[in-house]
């Protein structure tokens, strides 16, 4: 892999490597994949993702694809979505799935956890108001059950309501009867998913 890179190639890679934490080889192979998906252009469009056959069976593929084009995941401060992304954005989104390295300090590990959970949060919070409302959560569960047909729709409502109630119970503890629980904020999200060890679960091998 390394032999085919000229010196000039390494420099942009080095920047990217510093920014995203990937190694140079990983960036190289991801770049090849990027070029393959985008048919050798510089930008990737949504339609390009449709050419991946295995992705078609995935119940949450729309949300995954949307996540790639979501500015909130680009580690800037932008919001909203874009129509096409370059390699840098592609890599940035991929970097959320890096495994924790053994040399990380506790602080860095915590930061990585937050970043990953933030990514998940952004996937659920589609209107970017900072909370996952009941409707959005219902949508999530419906998508997950979308492969089971009409059976899913009603039970999805039940499940999402139950889940929401659980979140409210864990995070709020006590509420007056006419108070209204707006939705899951990021802090609540962190709290309820504390048990799942995100940093060890949410990664793939590059």
């Amino acid at each position: 892999m390394g032999a085919f890179h000229s010196v000039s190639d390494d420099h942009p890679y080095r920047d990217l490597a510093a920014k995203t934490g990937f190694s140079l080889e990983q960036i190289g192979s991801l770049h090849n994949r990027f070029k393959q998906l985008s048919h050798n252009e510089d930008v990737l469009k949504r339609e390009d993702f449709n050419s991946i056959p295995d992705l078609a069976c995935n119940p949450i593929r729309t949300q995954i694809i949307k996540a790639f084009f979501d500015r909130r995941n680009f580690q800037g401060n932008g919001t909203g979505s874009v129509q096409e992304i370059g390699f840098e954005e592609f890599l940035t989104v991929m970097s959320y799935f890096r495994p924790p390295s053994s040399r990380m300090t506790e602080e860095q590990r915590e930061e990585m956890r937050r970043a990953k959970l933030r990514f998940l949060f952004n996937m659920h919070d589609t209107d970017n108001d900072g909370t996952i409302t009941l409707e959005e959560y219902r949508h999530v569960v419906e998508e997950l059950l979308s492969s089971s047909g009409t059976l899913g729709k009603e039970t999805a409502k039940g499940i999402s309501d139950a889940a929401m109630l659980e979140v409210a119970s864990i995070t709020m503890g006590h509420m007056e009867p006419d108070e209204f629980y707006e939705g899951i904020t990021f802090d609540h999200f962190l709290k309820i998913l504390k048990e799942i060890e995100i940093d060890t679960k949410m990664h793939i091998r590059f």
Partner: protein
Amino acid sequence: MIPRVPFRPAPGHRTLMGRGLLMFLIMTLILGTILPLGASSSPDVSSRNGQDNHNHSHRSQDHEGKHHDNKSRKAFPVLEFDYQHVRIPFEIALWVLLASLMKLGFHLIPRLSSIVPESCLLIVVGLLVGGLIKLVGESPPVLDSKVFFLYLLPPIILDAGYFLPIRPFSENLGTILMFAVVGTLWNSFFIGGLLYAVCQIEGANLLRVDLLSCLLFGAIISAVDPVAVLAVFEEIHINELLHILVFGESLLNDAVTVVLYHLFEEFAGVGTVSVVDVFLGILSFLVVSMGGVLVGAIYGFLSALTSRFTSHQRVIEPLFVFMYSYMAYLSAEIFHLSGIMALIACGAVMRPYVEANISHKSHTTIKYFLKMWSSVSETLIFIFLGVSTVAGPHQWNWTFVVMTVILCLVARVLGVVGLTYVINKFRIVKLTTKDQFIIAYGGLRGAIAFSLVFLLDKDHFPDKHMFLTAIITIIFFTVFVQGMTIRPLVDLLAVKKKQETKRSINEEIHTQFLDHLLTGIEDICGHYGHHHWKDKLNRFNKKYIKKCLIAGERSKEPQLIAFYHKMEMKQAIELVESGSGAKLPSAMPSTISLQNIQPKKPADRALPQLSKGREEEIRKILRNNLQRTRQRLQSYNRHTLVADPYEDGWKEILLKKKKIELEKKISQMNNYLTVPAPPSDSPTMARARLASDPQAWRVKPDTDNVPTIKVDLASPQSPESVNVVDEFGKRGGQPQREPEGEDGGLTMKVPSSSGKAPTKADSDDPREQQRLMRCLSDPGPAPDEEEDDDEPFLP
């Protein structure tokens, strides 16, 4: 896993007299054990068969004698003593009883059981009993290898295999295999080789021990024992990863042990091993392990298929599970394949399908029978280990034994460290030094090694007794020293413990979400990794296998829904079992109710006919009651349910009670709660029905404050539901009775539909709709003494 049932003290037990009585009972039993052994001529268990034949012939002769001897008539015996013909079952039952009483006894002394693991105590008891028997003058029974391998070991392994946590096991399979295969090989050759070197030393008087014997000994002793590991690790509640690593290793190294054992035993007579034999040995290893797994999987599928058709004969469902598994074990043993791996494969393969098919009661039966059998087996094994120590012919050789112990420890540590170094290169979650220490320290030896040595032929292995002594020493050392010290060490090193939290539905949702997400990302990367293959397997499973192995509707139920229903049912049962009182088994006491999360719509506010007071009362009731969601305590559809007369009776009483209450009830309530019904024949629902405790419908004395929620279901009605409506219809003349179908139930509908008054519309066709009575549990304003902690349904 072998459970430690929480010791609920009956009133007598904690008192001194209670303890004294129990001790007396145990003493009597021990004495009782010795006497029959003394009464019979040859107490050795393995010579049972001879006795049986002898008895039979004796008895037939007796009959003939009586016919001949009519002249000298004896007086008719009123009371006879004929011990011989029940001797064997009597002794077995006595031993089992003794073992179980021992278990009871240990927990009476709380401090002891928290310091010393149970296995140690049992061995000590075995030593005592063996000593007693020897004092009496008889030779104590020895742990017969056949009995051990055919009767005592399978329940433990089946228990472990059936409840094996598949997810962590498959995630760490590579690591486990490395430890099991490579680790055991390293151990056996290291120990065997070095022991041979030691034996060559002049002064030790061990020159006659040849290389093959040493290697065989090394092979036997290097295998980590699942029984011992289970017994000790059960009590220290270590985190899941370490548990599955050590435990998985102990299970999978059986194949290696079997191959090495047979290899060395075969060639012990010949004296040399050639290269071809080594090659054949490797081939044999593959055959033994893969063959064992295959046999187990076949029986597992057969069992799953059989369970599909048992819906009309629920009572024998557990029998199928046990028999198929046992057959798998025995079939594997016929061909000298790895029986343990067959058993594990069978249990793990059949479990998801069988659980989808069988009733809840069968599930509970299987669980408790397995736990019971494995518990008894384990106890017996350890006691007999103690007794055999006293009994067995020993040959103590200081050098050999001490060197064995040292070499075992050294080999284990070196093996673990070396292997972890290699493994960590491939693992994402690396194994830390602490983990390595626990893995090394947890390598306990146990009864399997002992039985294997016992099986050795004395002619080929003249040093059998020396081996026996050494093995017993090692077992004692690992079980006592390592077993006792591992708990304080775990605390000292602050090793992560098992998390006791229950699986919440949020976690389940997100775990599934993550699975799909990671599969998607892998596909985008073009990377065929772990998740990709898992997803493919799941889809294949769903499409083909589940269709043929799972009965009826259940095969299409996605996992999340199944989980949801299971959780609901579990909570329903919990609440019912928690008995009377307002104490809910809630880990998160909160007053959050459904209202808090439903978005407010203007329609909610429009309750013109409802008085403020009434509304407040209802709100208070809702708020106080809604701790857990989704309680389904009543059957949906009686069609497919085997009628439970008890439940029917309660229902009638309840309905009558409700009648009286409801006349004053909120007729003007405009909120409705619609409940989606699961398919009526789904076994989860069947289980919920069967599990629903009639207690839930206990009559409530304070009737005034209990509104009832009636629920509209979309599914077709059943005859009973029509009866319900009919009954309501019959009792006419109630003041303020609401129109027919409504009947004063507090029905709540999701506000998203129009919150106005569909009462009329609904009541138009009461018979078309299935009514479901929901009883709102009632802490309410008045203190309740019932357990009625039912919760209104969430949509």
